[in-house]
């Protein structure tokens, strides 16, 4: 074990309990053209929502993964986001308020990352919304191949693919897709995407103040989650090319993407890894893809689903077809993802 300073991890904070609402207030101040924040319900809502006849997309989960989800509220992506406390699933009341705020009569898709807390709270929220006469389809993301999907786990975690689901399903909804179609494309993206994460350091939640796990100065967590959940195993740090090879092998061992396929290659920073390293990882990834006969016809490199200040990286590969590519390319205008508008 290293002698890392366990006392505190310093943060820009006022009262730790106010981090989420104060940050949301900042998000609204910076992007009032795109969204509004309902601080009482702690939800982020697209300006102009609800749009009559459009299927609405709502996602949410613990805070600490920014820009996910609030940074993806806007045109062509989410209609609302409900952030909980840091790393804590929001409560059904928030999800219900968000669902009501954006329902345009065509139904609402709940995009739920597969964690027990998120699943249970969204389940209660969907029941409440249906009691209110709103049609809800829940789509679970569970793309993390670091976790075995078996009787012995709560199933795979939802990680990087969630960003891609939100973008692509958002485009489908913007294009006039029905509730079943939007939910269908979201499930397709989830089915065709797989992720794997590696962390070099732990993050620290604002309330605890210290790192969630101790890690030696030569160690990495292989298969880490986005909540500081330790990975499946601890390994010695290796050259990036080897790490990326192992990650790619784990992903491709579980993804139906034969040689010759096109993929969307998503290199995601977990918050504390500088961009210069993310592009280095992307470079190593392109070599691995080449080795497997895959072409990255689309890509995304940056911090999109983070774990506070954790140093680490996740890779998500999504097998692309024409439909998904077209929806990926469709215009999007949110605080964190923008093109075509």
């Amino acid at each position: 074990m290293s002698s890392t300073d366990v006392a505190t991890v310093k943060k820009f904070l006022n009262n730790p309990d106010d981090l989420v609402p104060e940050s949301l207030a900042g998000l609204e101040a910076a992007h009032s053209d795109l969204l509004r924040v309902d601080l009482e319900n702690q939800i982020v809502v697209r300006r102009g929502a609800p749009t009559s006849g459009k299927v609405a997309l709502v996602s949410g989960g613990g805070a600490g993964h920014e820009p996910l989800h609030g940074g993806f509220v806007g045109v062509g992506m989410l209609d609302a986001a409900c952030p909980g406390a840091v790393f804590t699933s929001p409560v059904p009341d928030q999800m219900l308020a968000a669902t009501k705020a954006v329902d345009g009569g065509a139904g609402v898709v709940h995009i739920v990352k597969n964690y027990t807390g998120d699943v249970l709270n969204f389940r209660l929220a969907a029941e409440l919304a249906e009691d209110d006469g709103i049609q809800v389809e829940s789509v679970l993301t569970n793309d993390d191949v670091a976790v075995e999907d078996s009787l012995y786990t709560a199933g795979r975690r939802g990680v990087g693919v969630t960003v891609l689901v939100e973008k692509i399903a958002g485009a489908k909804a913007a294009a006039g897709g029905t509730l079943a179609e939007v939910a269908g494309i979201a499930r397709k993206v989830n089915a065709q995407g797989r992720s794997f994460g590696v962390a070099l350091t732990s993050c620290a939640t604002p309330t605890s103040g210290g790192p969630i796990f101790e890690i030696g100065s030569n160690e990495m967590e292989f298969g880490v989650g986005i909540h500081g959940e330790p990975g499946r195993r601890r390994e010695r740090v290796k050259p990036a090319a080897e790490i990326v090879e192992q990650m790619t092998t784990a992903i491709l061992g579980d993804l139906d993407a034969p040689s010759g396929s096109n993929v969307l290659a998503f290199v995601n920073g977990l918050g504390g890894t500088p961009l210069i390293e993310l592009y280095l990882v992307y470079n190593d990834l392109t070599k691995q893809l080449e080795r497997h006969g895959l072409t990255a016809t689309r890509n995304l490199v940056g911090n999109y689903i983070t774990s506070l200040e954790m140093a680490g990286v996740s890779i998500t590969l999504l097998a692309l077809d024409e439909e998904l590519t077209m929806l990926w390319d469709a215009p999007v205008h949110t605080p964190a993802l923008r093109w075509g508008t």
Binding site: T88, S89, P92, G117, T153, A154, S208, H227, E229
Partner: protein, 211 residues
């Protein structure tokens, strides 16, 4: 036992969780995401506020329904819906009665456990709060059926829940966040089982004090 019993139970639970907040969070840091103490504390703080605001005349079942709904609305995470549903089911079981006896209490707790299992689908041995709640409910039921007084029966139930809590240490988690760790979850005590033992102990305390 009456509404006052429920109020003292909730107060004692809130106090115990407040006191053990950091410990619960530490347990959760080891095999989860380091928020269980904060989650439960936030929830029970809100529960006390709601109960303070609730009319003095409300029957115990109604108070438990309020407490459960408050947990659902304020906790989040896995524990919020689970403990929230548990208390709501217990409240529903007590119905509109102004007073309740030992067997009614046992039935209410059984309903609570049923709610947890229905929602979370965990059986005993999966390293969750069920490992602490199920033995407590079973023991209370058995002790009462065997002719025990409520006091000793509750003490036995508390002991069983604590034993169940400790017995989570060697288990490998197969439900909840800790299951992602696979074998690395072995050797750590489950945070949810721990807070559950606190809540069961708070019940014993509330009733023995009231007696």
């Amino acid at each position: 036992m009456d509404a006052g019993t429920v109020r003292s139970w909730m107060s004692a639970s809130a106090a115990a969780i407040r006191e053990q907040r950091d410990y619960l969070t530490q347990l959760d840091a080891a095999i989860g995401d380091a928020d269980h103490g904060a989650n439960m504390d936030r929830g029970f703080t809100a529960v006390l506020e709601q109960l303070d605001a609730a009319e003095a005349s409300q029957p115990p079942g109604k108070l438990l329904l309020t407490a459960g709904s408050t947990l659902v609305s304020t906790v989040g995470g896995a524990s919020g819906p689970l403990w929230g549903t548990a208390l709501r089911r217990a409240g529903r079981a007590l119905g509109e009665e102004v007073e309740f006896d030992g067997p009614q209490l046992a039935a209410a707790l059984e309903a609570a456990l049923g709610g947890v299992v229905e929602l979370g689908a965990a059986a005993e041995g999966e390293k969750t709060m069920v490992d602490s709640l199920a033995p407590a409910v079973r023991t209370l039921r058995e002790q009462l059926a065997g002719g025990s007084e409520l006091g000793p029966a509750l003490a036995a139930a508390r002991a069983a829940s604590e034993e169940g809590m400790r017995a989570t240490v060697p288990l490998q988690a197969t439900k909840g966040r800790a299951s992602y760790l696979g074998e690395r979850s072995i050797g750590h005590q489950d945070p949810g089982a721990t807070s559950t033992a606190l809540i069961v102990a708070a019940l014993e305390q509330a009733i023995s004090r009231g007696a």
